[in-house]
Symmetry: C2
């Protein structure tokens, strides 16, 4: 496909998407197909020669579209609202047009810097506590200068985490965010970070004990109503998991956690991580962050908050009553691809 054809097909596709969104209510919400419907409709091997766009697009309309679940349909009430929007589609188009990879600063400076800046914006929009969004904003002038020296929010290419001196680490603002692929990734990353910190501490106290033995003492906690990704993350991290009962309002309470902690500590286990949920998957209930946060802070336990579902609501001042206690947490994730008109996947840690 040359650029002339791209111009034609691209514009046709823009019209197609606008038509699709305007007439989406004419489709069934869920497709009327059986598992395995597609295989007999497609050749067993990829075609040896490229095909004309018309043929490919006809295949899409005749074979793929009938198997699509229409997430943007006005009567789609499954899972969660996967908000899409025209600006979001255009943003993705521009990004795929540039074909840029942002895995390090040098790989694409504007890509990595824009991510950091917009995550700061988002954190402020949600009114997250200073412990989570960078303190940068308090000392703007000083930090802008430091920015230009590459010391703020920018990877330092000459030193690895290990040989940075402690002073430098202390000077760097804490907090700030990144975009990951899913809330599941955010929970896993937070858990691995907490595991690593706690193991380092235990190792310094027990330098001759095998890491695996220390690991077998670690225990994490979450509510029965937490998303399954929390339990999965625990399995990947190979730590013990205690699934706690929520109260009659489906909220995990401090008392329940406290009881479990005492029991486990008396059995020689080391509690190190709690994952709370703001907006559970099954019924959008809220764990009690204030009670749990106070316990975690006292016991030096990493408290993560998975607000994948309800986090976006914190943009509204009148809904911030459920954010009480966020100042006590160590990490927080939410999904702008739910409610915030972003297309999948976009989860912010």
């Amino acid at each position: 496909m040359n650029s002339d054809e791209f111009r034609i097909r691209g514009k046709e596709l823009i019209d197609y998407i606008a038509d699709y969104m305007e007439n989406i209510h004419e489709h069934r919400v869920t497709p009327n197909v059986e598992p395995g419907y597609l295989k007999p409709l497609l050749p067993l091997d990829a075609p040896q020669k490229g095909e004309e766009w018309e043929i490919i697009f006809k295949d899409f309309q005749d074979k793929i579209l009938p198997g699509v679940t229409h997430w943007q349909h006005p009567r789609f009430h499954a899972y969660f609202p996967a908000g899409n929007s025209y600006p979001s589609i255009l943003g993705e188009l521009l990004s795929s047009g540039l074909g840029v990879l942002g895995f390090s600063w040098a790989a694409s400076p504007s890509c990595t810097e824009l991510e950091t800046i917009v995550l700061d914006w988002l954190g402020k929009m949600l009114n997250l506590p200073k412990s989570l969004v960078p303190t940068c904003t308090d000392e703007k002038e000083v930090l802008t200068e430091r920015d230009l020296n590459g010391n703020c929010n920018v990877p330092n290419f000459n030193k690895t985490e290990d040989n940075r001196d402690d002073d430098e680490i202390d000077q760097r603002p804490e907090g700030g965010g990144v975009i990951l692929g899913s809330a599941s990734e955010c929970v896993l990353v937070s858990l691995l970070s907490a595991r690593s910190s706690m193991l380092r501490k235990l190792k310094s106290e027990n330098p001759f004990t095998e890491d695996g033995v220390l690991l077998s003492k670690l225990v994490m906690y979450t509510s029965k109503l937490a998303h399954s990704c929390v339990e999965k993350a625990g399995m990947m991290a190979m730590v013990k998991i205690r699934i706690l009962e929520p109260d009659e309002n489906y909220s995990l309470r401090g008392e329940t956690l406290e009881k479990a902690l005492i029991e486990d500590q008396s059995n020689g286990l080391v509690p190190f991580f709690v994952s709370c949920t703001l907006g559970t998957t099954s019924c959008c209930s809220f764990d009690n962050l204030i009670e749990i946060g106070q316990i975690c802070n006292r016991e030096n336990i990493h408290l993560h908050v998975d607000a994948a579902y309800a986090g976006s609501a914190l943009v509204c001042e009148e809904l911030r009553f459920f954010s009480s206690g966020l100042e006590l947490v160590d990490s927080f994730n939410f999904n702008p691809n739910k409610w915030m008109l972003m297309n999948f996947d976009c989860s912010c840690l």
Copy 2:
């Protein structure tokens, strides 16, 4: 933005991308900016009201574009070729236009089924052994029928992995692929799968030993030239890692592995995973799959092959000499977003 404006802006953007690709040689390859350049150019907070597209696009051109590293530039020789193409851009546009999530079959049947089918195509294009691509193709008619019953390549919603009976598992074709976000994810997933199998085996032999103690006996192997993601995966999985020396042709050899195995086994460790590379990051060297595969098969060690960089070359019959030994491996990943004109990110396991 309503659909009328989307039609206008979308078409402008298609032209912009075509213009960009046609004139990309006029840009510098790497941007002339210092770390932190972007922050002073943008407001400290997100705007309270939406802005006009013209203003946003002017911001993009004045502030973002000057910080872009042009990966598609003809003189871009860094990292790896991040092949982009017009059809790939259109595919992504269509996919973001539909706004569909494919995390389970019901969430979007055509999305999940197409992934499986195209991965079969890709596997055949690379001439991967039957142990990696589904045996489906050998018994087409039987399997098409089974497909319609939902028993092939389709998640079974009523039974979890644990309560499926063994007969059913035996009947299911082995192999097949999925798309993950990066080669790093592929290596991690393969490693976790191998760890899980080996721990289950050890646990059945030592039912009263703590998982953490069993874990501390596991050891994995890779070459000094393997991508850093292999070592990172090992750290996440908390297993011991032995980084082995390649030979004078930068290839990891069976003899080196054998020596390490004997030493570790005599120290009571349990070798369970080897990650080889086809096309190392630093010099595109190739580990000796035949020698290593024979050892791994004999010792019941999971052999993973990271062909992120060179895998796409297997499409060419004349380059398949380096695939010898692939019939001995347990898992394999390669990145169509290198060489295969796919946009980032697309890594196939």
